[in-house]
Homo-oligomer: 306 residues x 3
């Protein structure tokens, strides 16, 4: 028994059974990461290549640690300064990596669909670590893992996702995952930051944060990507923060033991108040811990295939 697919490209393409399988496979690896000796031989002699066309120290590190704790050989391949400059195509780069017998390629790329293109082209397993505004499936899997761990399950929970939905692959993956797993999902976003098709995803769209909070078990704050263009869709950071920032007062509007989540890195004082980020209900650092476990679980399942 195991995953029947070679690649993890999106949450949209995973079945509920597959998501459950990944979450369950990740549990023992969470235990491994808490041990004195955080290492198992599951992927010994396998090669994992982190192919990151966008810089991301955090996600890359999480995958790198996951692979190393599985005893894989890990290569960081950041083509920005090298082959890309030299004009090689994504597929040629990937074919090269495949030819070096990579078992798993972890891809981050600025183009939506890049991971799918790659998955079709190579025999290696491909894990999408973020493709443009499309999906970031391992972020959603670690979020589902965290919610399940803290709340005992996902089905029936009220979850609200808040921020720039138009440019968030994290939102997109989480919406697909949460809806599949039976959560009631609300999204909150400035009108300029919601793509028109979002009401077809099985979520309720709100423009008022305060109105969306009552009855919610989980609040997922999105990072305001100050370094990206999406930001121009809003008049000022202060105004954004006033309307869509999570403050201690707003937390009171949700259910008593509401979980507070954020994919990081935090803009403290912008989308989340410092005292909320550091509060008892915040599971932001649990998400980081669980990220390593879920990536271990996923790589383990994919390597079982080969």
């Amino acid at each position: 028994m195991g995953l029947k697919r070679k690649d993890i490209l999106s949450i949209a393409s995973l079945s509920v059974d597959e998501i459950n399988m990944i979450l369950e496979a990740s549990e023992p690896f969470k235990e491994v990461s808490g041990r004195e000796i955080k290492k198992v031989p599951a992927l010994r002699g396998k090669t994992v290549v982190n192919l990151f066309f966008e810089p991301s120290t955090r996600t890359r590190t999480s995958f790198e640690l996951a692979a190393k704790r599985l005893s894989a050989d890990v290569i960081n391949f950041s083509p920005s300064s090298s082959s890309i400059v030299k004009g090689e195509t994504l597929l040629d780069t990937a074919k090269n990596i495949e030819s070096m017998q990579a078992d798993i390629i972890v891809l981050r790329h600025s183009s939506s669909g890049a991971a799918e293109t790659l998955g079709r082209a190579v025999r290696s397993s491909v894990i999408n670590a973020g493709d443009g505004w499309h999906e970031h499936p391992t972020q959603a899997l670690l979020d589902l893992f965290t919610i399940k761990e803290k709340k005992g399950g996902i089905s029936g929970l009220g979850v609200v996702i808040v921020g720039d939905l138009a440019h968030s692959r994290v939102a997109r993956s989480n919406i697909h995952g949460l809806v599949k797993m039976g959560a009631r999902v609300r999204v909150v976003s400035p009108p300029t930051m919601v793509p028109p098709f979002f009401d077809q995803l099985g979520v309720e769209v709100y423009h008022s944060f305060d109105e969306a909070l009552p009855g919610m078990d989980v609040i997922i704050m999105l990072r305001l990507q100050l370094e990206r263009q999406g930001w121009a869709l809003f008049p000022s950071i202060r105004e954004y923060s006033r309307l869509y920032g999570l403050t201690a007062e707003r937390v009171q509007l949700a259910k008593p033991n509401v979980l507070i989540m954020h994919p990081g890195p935090l803009n403290r004082g912008v989308e989340i108040a410092p005292e909320v980020a550091d509060s008892h209900g915040s599971v932001i650092l649990d998400q980081v811990t669980n990220g390593v476990a879920v990536r271990m679980g996923l790589m383990y399942l994919l390597s079982e295939l080969n």
Copy 2:
């Protein structure tokens, strides 16, 4: 039995026996890379340092994977942003690395002769991973390995090398290797891109690609280094491509089962047509696979010395 030399600096300095020894030592490592568990303990507890003064994700990755599959500890040391800025000399950098007990230093440097200088200065083995326009011996070794694997031998074969000979360390290493191994070597290049001494290397110099092709068993296309100055030696890319690009029609002029080789990365549509790069006769990705095996073989032989 084994290599008697500490360093691999050039193909020009290797004997036919040494080349044969390296090619034979690499064969079992090709088999290792095809296994479920791609790892042997041959270099456990040894330290390999990739000292790359020029960026090269692909070659660095090939060496890094080779070393890791031999169980060595590998350090990537890219001084561009650090000591070099601080004005340290190449020799001081190398002496430092030696003092950290590096067993093997893999050097890429923009100056011809840098590897030789280094090899004389340190006790560590030095492998030249490309020094200026001088040599790139492991590229030639993997090309020889690939030709031998596909054609059963090298002696007596007709091999044509096409491109900017003046600025190609790949061409220089391959010419030395192929001539030593008994191939008949032709080179094709615009008149502005052939250094005057090339006719002393035991090759026939052509300026017409079409005239050089009849009777050839292997075509080695060189990358047009669009990012370097050498490019200014030709009026336009389109003109270069028309005269010196490998098209499906040109392939017909060579022998029926001609091998098509390229060190990568490809400029598709410039020096090689996409349909030729992806054709049955193309062994470009086999070169990549064999690159890891040959580098494993070479590091294994060098470590036997110590």
Copy 3:
């Protein structure tokens, strides 16, 4: 028996017993680095994260090698291009790394006190690999190790430290260490490069290099940081070199078997003459070798705590 502290933040905060314990613990690791198989399983399954906010290939490599030879999993986390750009705070970055179950965080940061702040915030052990102009304790420990190895002890020796004291964390750490271990310490510096409080550190301040040399057993030259602002405190490099550079003539003014030390990288011909750097009395490369051993010893002691 072992270190009672979680972090190594400064030499100022270490007791003489602790310094002795670290020096003694490092000795067997020097032996390990000289073996055929330079690897012990002491930190297998532990995670060491090199968190370098300032570029430093040499120090980072020394820590990376030390950790790998102890069989730890090592992650290089250089946030310059990533989360820092994204505006995350040092503490959030560190909390993330802690949440990935890092056992040891090696921190280099441009702010004095950054390591101490970090050490208070995380459960992971923190090793200060240089914080602003404050301290660089492992450099001082490897210097003490080297002096003890070459001279049989430290107490009673005359040691002179020469250079830009105002901007040198190496000087500060060495002064604390040498004074604690009972050496007589002189410092030599242009008047513009000595902070006012230096005479309270238990050292004699000289402005004439020649006057400071008689009776000295050890000369520690500081690197003139040409790439930093401190340089503006002196009229010209030539003038600096004439007054404060170590020449063969100056070496004669010290004791016959004087040790010559430098933390690297060298500015040959500026603060040290090439023939002095390469002379019999120079232990500059021993310092590099011992750096790996001392970092192994230190990480071993810290991991014993956990």
